[in-house]
């Protein structure tokens, strides 16, 4: 094969272009002037990894973006691979902190304490969420449900929308004579765990299944969809359907959400109503471990809530990781960051609980 001079020149040009592209610098690294935003004077440089709950994925993404924009030289990498995987990563010293929908318990607690050589592992609640009942029934602008009715729908004792039990709580509303298409999560999820915990606590006579991350296998009927976005999209595209998901997913899909009557009148599924339930939770952990016990029987706030914890070491985290972890978590516990949560469809931590959260974060060393 004869290689002509022109071909040779072209080859050199292509190789040169590729080499120059490879040498190009990343935009923004090192040369950025820090934005004069709300002045996060607590900037620290470094790089940490975190992983865990996908429920707080959007909140984390927003916070990381804000923190990194304000503090050049800091890199935080959050992988939303699930609470279980996040805790395993933390125990295996792959990450600086883990995001989890449930607090550490049993063997995981022992392993996590062992990972933090000199101090205990602590759960710090950082992101709250409301589990809403999104529905797609045409002509029904406002739907009220009680925990017993929700349990009945999901354990297949209530099968039609115009069942007397639903009509009893919705006076004056015309409900269609149609089968209810109830959607649950087909994958393991902290949302399912908290939802079934709520049903098991408040309507124990109708809901006899233990709470778990997997939907109870004993229930026949209902359809499963993968991920909260899967459930949202299923409810959106199926007539006469209902599904449980976090508020942010229902808002994104523009689905109507049901009001929940826990015995004290119907309460709308909003961020503010859920915030009061979270703020009134009791702390079951000791010292700076803020594992919470939510009062699902509350009659004044929206009762179906969940909290995502950041799990890290109070003492004993690797010295290189402590400054940035502490600085980032201080930011996320701050007013500005918590204020962003409501816009994203999450629920902010407020009141005394927020003070305890800040104390716990400041004790990281």
């Amino acid at each position: 094969m004869n290689i002509t001079g022109k071909a040779r020149l072209t080859a050199v040009a292509i190789i040169g272009a590729l080499a120059l592209a490879a040498c190009g610098s990343d935009s923004g690294s090192g040369s950025s002037s820090s934005a004069s935003g709300s002045g996060n004077a607590n900037c620290v440089t470094g790089s940490i990894k975190a992983s865990g709950s996908s429920a707080q994925k959007n909140a984390m993404a927003e916070w990381i973006n804000a923190y990194q924009t304000n503090c050049s030289g800091a890199t935080i990498d959050y992988q939303a691979n699930g609470s279980g995987a996040g805790i395993k990563d933390f125990i295996n010293k792959q990450t600086a902190f883990a995001g989890s929908d449930s607090a550490l318990k049993d063997q995981d607690k022992t392993d996590a304490d062992a990972r933090c050589s000199t101090g205990p592992a602590i759960d710090i609640p950082m992101v709250g969420g409301a589990i809403v009942m999104a529905y797609n029934v045409s002509g029904v602008a406002k739907l009220i449900l009680t925990p017993d009715v929700i349990a009945g729908i999901y354990n297949n004792t209530i099968t039609k929308w115009n069942d007397p039990k639903i009509a009893a709580v919705n006076p004056g509303v015309t409900l269609p004579d149609a089968t209810i298409a109830a959607f649950h999560r087909s994958d393991s999820s902290g949302t399912t765990d908290n939802f079934t915990k709520f049903l098991g606590t408040v309507s124990a006579s109708s809901w006899t299944y233990p709470h778990a991350k997997d939907w109870p296998a004993a229930i026949k009927g209902g359809q499963g969809a993968k991920g909260s976005d899967g459930v949202a999209s299923a409810v959106k595209s199926t007539a006469n359907s209902i599904g449980y998901m976090e508020l942010s997913f229902a808002q994104d899909a523009k689905l109507s959400t049901a009001w929940v009557d826990n015995g004290g009148g119907a309460i709308e599924a909003t961020s503010q109503n859920a915030a009061s339930t979270i703020a009134s939770a009791t702390v079951t952990g000791t010292g700076n471990d803020l594992a919470l016990k939510i009062d699902y029987t509350t009659k004044t706030g929206y009762p179906i809530v969940l909290v995502t914890y950041e799990i890290t070491c109070e003492k004993g985290l690797d010295a290189a990781l402590v400054p940035l972890t502490k600085s980032f978590l201080t930011y996320t516990a701050g007013d500005e960051a918590q204020g962003k949560l409501t816009n994203l469809g999450y629920v902010a931590i407020t009141g005394d609980l927020l003070t305890k959260v800040r104390t716990a974060v400041s004790s990281i060393s």
């Binding site: 279980g84 995987a85 393991s188 999820s189 778990a212 997997d214 026949k220 969809a225 899967g230 595209s237």
Partner: protein, 330 residues
């Protein structure tokens, strides 16, 4: 094969490495032999490593299991005590794969036949290109397309089957809901394995000796009779091989099925009702939140899938071996 007559008194040639009796061994031959032998060994070592890993990691959950692993449908390995079994998983996997094969094999072979012997050259090229393009679509796209677009449109088919064929228990539907069913997942799987079956069958069809084809045409056979007499007997091992490859993909397809099925852990013969779960989809859905025993249980189910796929491929090899003259395996 060539034979050489050795001249009397010549030194004994090195035959072991040469393959061709009597030829001297050159360095290039030795290098090539080493490389190909090495590749074969790498494959065997990889397979062995996978098998050992699966068995090793699966043992803790099998020891902790309080239920019969093969006959239980429920899946709660992280409960206390652990209680899980693969009955529902096996049923779902085999059922979806069966539906996929029943739909994909006739259509795939039909496409291959059309491209190889019926279509004009230009049409054949275009059609072949498009069929191969289907193989390039990622599985997750199939899953999303299946659940968002295809499932609502298959409700009509489900209703038709229930109305006219409802006396067959397979097509009965007690719930009136036709989405997220094993039948829908099987249909999407059929579309996914179609390009594999079609491409390999096509290659085998065009290799039919022209002499056979022309002989049958000369004897007065119609085109279809020619296909039946000359092409199918020749191509049978190849078609079986293609179907087995497609079946392998159908058995192991993960994310598309995870998106399309409703994940219920029971053996439900009404394939148009929502429900069902397969080995691979179960692993995809439960992996992230699984505890230690849960992970081990998922790996145990992966081991079962590995064994099933191995069994399927081995039976395919046995079938092909009967026509060893035409098989690439020899």
């Amino acid at each position: 094969m060539s034979t050489t007559v050795e001249p009397p008194g010549a030194p004994a040639p090195a035959t072991a490495a040469a393959g061709i009796k009597g030829a001297a061994v050159r360095r290039g031959d030795r290098v090539f032999l080493g490389l190909s032998r090495g590749s074969g060994i790498v494959i065997l070592v990889t397979m062995a490593a996978i098998a050992v890993f699966l068995v090793w990691k699966a043992i803790p959950s099998l020891q902790a299991n309080t239920a019969n692993f093969f006959t239980t449908s429920e899946w709660s390995p992280d409960a206390n005590p652990a209680f899980f079994g693969i009955a529902a998983l096996t049923f779902g996997t085999l059922m979806t794969a069966l539906i996929a094969m029943l739909l994909a094999v006739p259509v795939g072979i039909g496409i291959a036949l059309f491209i190889a012997h019926y279509a004009s050259r230009r049409l054949a090229t275009v059609l072949g290109f498009i069929t191969d393009l289907l193989a390039a679509v990622p599985s997750i796209i199939f899953g999303m397309w299946g659940i968002e677009f295809l499932t609502p449109h298959l409700t009509g088919l489900g209703e038709w089957l229930t109305t006219y064929l409802g006396f067959i228990p397979l097509f009965k539907n007690d719930l009136g809901i036709y989405s997220r069913s094993i039948m829908n997942a099987g249909i999407v799987l059929a579309i996914m394995v179609l390009p594999t079956i079609s491409a390999i069958s096509r290659e085998v069809f065009v290799q039919t000796p022209r002499a056979h084809i022309e002989a049958s045409l000369a004897l007065g056979a119609t085109r279809w009779e020619m296909v039946r007499m000359a092409i199918f007997p020749f191509a049978r091992p190849g078609m079986i091989s293609a179907s087995m490859l497609g079946l392998g993909r159908a058995l192991g397809e993960t994310i598309a099925v995870a998106l399309m099925l409703s994940a219920t852990y029971d053996i439900n013969w009404h394939i148009t009702e929502p429900g069902g779960i397969t080995f691979a989809a179960n692993i995809a859905l439960k992996w992230n939140e699984a505890g230690t025993i849960g992970l081990s249980a998922l790996i145990a189910s992966g081991l079962v899938l590995f064994v099933i796929t191995l069994a399927v491929n081995m039976s395919a090899r046995i079938i092909i071996a009967r026509r060893s003259d035409f098989s690439g395996a020899n």
